[in-house]
């Protein structure tokens, strides 16, 4: 019994950043990396299932990215994932979410998990595409934006809730194995314990290449993508009128704004 959890190292721009000379991305020197916020929730959901089953569930995390991604994989191992897989070589550069999904699907075919969890989206580029595209490559049933899950390992059906817009949820029964994209708030992610962090150092991170997974050069990178970034730029944005002064002065103005609204 196995659950595969996909994770991503996301990037945020530093306060003052520069665009790369080709204009198609931010200069990597100005990027700050972290584990995608959503992935904490999908890993926790897998850990909850593992613990409820009394430990007979293996939780494997997989990511596509260069060596720096090991830092995020170690975080997942510290929280209790059993092992990690990272896929990379230079051919992956320029991949869009669909090309990434093709790589993850190839890993999933090897690993044959009972469930695959992905975050709804990543906080950097918010494509919300990788998980569901992975399901397509696998030919698996799938559900997007899952906010509640009832699933017993080995079961052929899962019951779940999808979070729709406007405070409405849809309850769905789904055949398994399936790909679920996991929404924030589905659980309360744990922090890694000191013991967990120590143990993580000894857990394996397998590093694979796309070709070792049987993928052709045209399956990944720009050739395997359905879109290409043409240009990035900083948009012109509105700016609030800043209320200056001491807190007392600022609030005096705020009181006036409230009273104007109330017609006082």
């Amino acid at each position: 019994m196995k659950i595969l959890v996909t994770v991503k190292q996301v990037a945020a721009v530093d306060d003052d950043f520069e665009i790369r000379t080709d204009g198609r991305d931010v200069d990597p020197d100005f990027l700050i990396h972290d584990l995608n916020e959503w992935d904490n929730f999908s890993l926790e959901e897998a850990m909850k299932i593992k613990e409820a089953a009394g430990g007979e569930v293996e939780v494997v995390v997989v990511s596509v990215g260069p060596e720096s991604v090991d830092e995020e994989l170690r975080k997942c191992l510290a929280k209790g994932a059993d092992r990690a897989i990272r896929v990379w070589d230079d051919s992956v550069e320029g991949s869009d979410p669909i090309a990434i999904a093709r790589i993850i699907a190839a890993v999933a075919k090897n690993e044959a998990p009972d469930m695959l969890f992905a975050g709804v989206q990543a906080s950097d580029h918010s494509y919300a595409a990788t998980g569901i595209a992975t399901a397509s490559f696998l030919g698996w049933p799938h559900a997007a934006v899952v906010s509640l899950l009832n699933y017993t390992p080995g079961s052929k059906m899962a019951t779940l809730q999808r979070e729709l817009e406007g405070g409405t949820y849809a309850e769905v029964e789904l055949e398994c194995p399936a790909v679920l994209t996991i929404q924030l708030g589905i659980n309360v992610p744990r922090y890694a314990s000191l013991r967990g962090i120590k143990q993580a150092a000894a857990k394996p991170i397998d590093v694979l290449t796309p070709s070792a997974l049987g993928l052709a050069a045209t399956d990944v990178g720009e050739a395997g993508s359905l879109s290409r970034v043409r240009r990035m730029y900083v948009p012109a944005k509105g700016q609030a009128e800043l209320i200056e002064g001491t807190p007392a002065e600022q609030v005096a103005r705020l009181v006036k704004i409230i009273q104007e609204f109330k017609g006082v």
Partner: protein, 321 residues
Amino acid sequence: MSGILVIAEHRMDELRPVSLELIAVAVGVKAQASGPVTVAIIANDPQKYAQALSVQGVDEVICVKSAVVEFDPDAYEATVAALIAAKNPSLVLLPHSVNSLAYAPALAAKTGLGLATDAFKVEFDAGALVATRGGYGQKLNVEVDFPGKSTVVVTFRANVCKPIDAAGSPTVTQMDAPATPARGQHKKYIEAAGGGDVDIPGSEFILSIGRGVGEEDNVEQFRELAQTVGAELGCSRPIADAGWLPKSRQVGQSGKTAANCKLYIAMGISGSVQHMAGMKHVENIVAVNTDPKASIFHIARYGIVGDIFEIGEELRNQFPA
């Protein structure tokens, strides 16, 4: 390949307003797409939506009769694939909704179509489609193109484009959705629990709190503050996710829209796209945040760069009883 196919969305017997926004987007680039605008509605009883979708600029409304009553990703994927095969559009516009996200990436991946999600602008540059979306937490705009793709699927953000009010007279046609084996089953809809006393959509004055509140014990003082100034207490997603306030108080895409709000005070809310979707239309937004670079300051009318606890206490003291 020419023209634009729009997939309308409905839920619980109502057309989702984003459907009409997408039609406006399509009509806006119709001349560049050098082809008709076709709107498809996939439902068990699609005819009832046909009139609402017949707005100026639409050439054809296709009522696709589906055996599946509620949304199912496999049924929608197969149906939209059939529509694309029938119409050969250069652009397929879907709402960037939770339901579209459940099948659009699968559709594009399977058939090798171009794909961009959460776009807020589309245009044709020398005949080739360019979609603009946000990158790096919406700090940058990203232009995406689709080399070698004659059909591109774009999920387009809600609340960007104004719907067209004028009625049109498109041809209304019928089609049967292809049958798909059911791998999932919709059971029921559930409304967010908590607080029949809370009315975010109806409130004219909302004071909302976000991550800046820090911990659960700090929520109470803002509840009291909202009461003091006569505002409804709202919140952003992390506060509801943590269970500090009920989901019924959450403002944003997956929460409630501040539909009638005239004054919105955002305290300790940095301003995610999802939160702003529920409040950015409010005429008077006052944002209080320690981070002068927070996104919320880009949409607020007034900004106070400061500590929400200090400002909160000062407001409590100064507000006339």
